[in-house]
Amino acid sequence: MGTDRYAYCSPLRRMDPLGKGFVSLLASVVCLCCGMAAVGLFTMLLMGGLTILWGGQKLRTFGHFMKIPLAFLAIGSLTMVVQAYPPESALLVGIPVGDMLWGVDRAGLWEGASMFCRALGVVASMYFLALTTPVVDLTQGLRRLHVPALMVELMELIYRFIFTLTDGADRIRVAQKSRLGYGSARRSIDDVGVLASMVFLRAWRQGDRVYAALESRGYTGALTTLARDYESGKPCFWAAAGVCAAQLGIFALERWLL
């Protein structure tokens, strides 16, 4: 399930998206730049805490979303940890393959762990934004950051019509299945082809109708709308400063201890 559903329920939903974006971005950048496992883990806890306590999400929701990228992160880190070494290297574990030794040494393990933890920190920071800010507010924020209007409008339209397209695709699929579609692997390929072409055709026709409807409401080339007033993003700047200070504190502590 998408994060949007949860973002709509967040008490921070009406807060200025740029403020929330700033918290996420600053926390991510500091977490990446510090390059230490402890800072990464700490950032994850801190941003998780913010998302739960301030952003009004359940621990379960946050945990659920953190699990999603875990497999990717694990595989990514593993390829950094396991490497080929010359035969007489001192490794933690290793097996000889050909005339090389494949395994894990202390430095590699440390680096992999640090990468993994930093990635967790960045992912958690981004979840703070994603779980408190619906897509429509994010795009409104991008508009204010002077991202080209064409790009923002495309993003908004794609986001809006993804739902009607998937609804339509679901209905076609049910109709196909009810007439014994997808019965064999070969049939499935045919049926998916028909489904894709039908969805495309429908989207094309709906595009025409949407355009007519826009024109009838005075569209002259810009999808300009007025969003509801946002609450001030000021608390976000305090939050960002707090998170940043804590991250740097942990960074200094880790440096001092090691």
Partner: protein, 284 residues
């Protein structure tokens, strides 16, 4: 005085598609101010094309559209003025609601009119209040029910403060309760704000309840017109146009033609039929 009695008028309106097919052929019709005018016709009768012509999205090959008695000008300013005064609510709200945010979608029309932020906010709040969607303002469009989307679509048009609102099949896809709610909303807006409504429908049962006058459209031509009572006394004409009598009027027709009772066949609503039956039974 002509020009003040009719909010919108079409004279000899003719429209052809690019391949030359005539979609509208010399259509003459008018909608009285503050009334609900029905446009009745089967599928493919040309209703949607007519509406897009009335709002300037399509430009007629021949003929004129008059709003408030003045012919429409097709320059940029004239078109914007036309779209401000004549709004269309499309059949499928998913075609009309382009924004995933209810509030922003409703604000689209007023923003296009070049109004200031304060005025846009006032109008959006007002339109949401009138259509009963204020509670939905923080919801994403895709989370709304079909009936709620329809109301939001009406709010989006209402926020432009039009004089004429055209509704294409307003009851299509709604459950019976939804039909009642939408039609009550239309009556409220007509009575409260004096808005003129044009309603395309083939749902014959709502016609005697909500329409003041009606036109029959078939093959791009007007094939009949009159008050609803007048049209309902011509069942053959309705059937030729792929329509039928409302159920209650049909019952009256059977009572009259099969059972030989002296029933008034223009009695097409429950209350009219009740009066008529009591009259026949001699209890009134």
């Amino acid at each position: 005085m002509e020009g003040t009695e009719y909010a919108i008028e079409a004279r000899d309106l003719t429209y052809a598609y690019e391949d030359g097919t005539l979609a509208l052929d010399g259509v003459n019709l008018n909608a009285r101010r503050g009334k609900v005018t029905g446009i009745l016709g089967g599928n493919g009768a040309g209703k949607s094309t007519l509406f897009l012509n009335l709002n300037g999205v399509l430009r007629p090959k021949r003929g004129t559209v008059l709003v408030d008695g003045a012919p429409v000008r097709y320059d940029k300013k004239g078109l914007m003025d036309l779209r401000r005064r004549v709004g269309i609510v499309f059949q499928d709200p998913d075609d009309q609601l382009f924004s995933a945010d209810v509030y922003r979608d409703i604000s689209f029309g007023p923003v296009n009119l070049g109004l200031g932020a304060e005025e846009v906010r006032r109008r959006v709040a007002w339109a949401m209040e009138r259509t009963g969607v204020t509670a939905l303002r923080d919801k994403p469009t895709h989370a709304l029910s079909y009936g709620q989307k329809k109301r939001v679509a009406i709010a989006g048009v209402l926020a432009m403060e039009p004089q004429v609102v055209i509704l294409d099949e307003p009851t299509a896809g709604l459950d019976p309760q939804g039909v009642g709610e939408i039609m009550r909303l239309i009556t409220e807006l007509r009575d409260g704000l004096g808005i003129t409504f044009l309603i395309a429908t083939h749902d014959m049962d709502i016609v005697p309840l909500y329409c003041d006058r009606a036109y029959l459209l078939s093959g791009g031509k007007v094939t009949g017109e009159g008050t609803v009572e007048e049209l309902l006394t011509q069942p053959e004409l309705l059937r030729e146009n792929h329509l039928r009598l409302p159920r209650i009027a049909h019952l009256m027709e059977i009572l009259r033609d099969v059972d030989g009772l002296d029933a008034d066949r223009s009695a097409a609503t429950i209350s009219a039929a009740r009066r008529e039956i009591k009259r026949i039974l001699g209890t009134e």
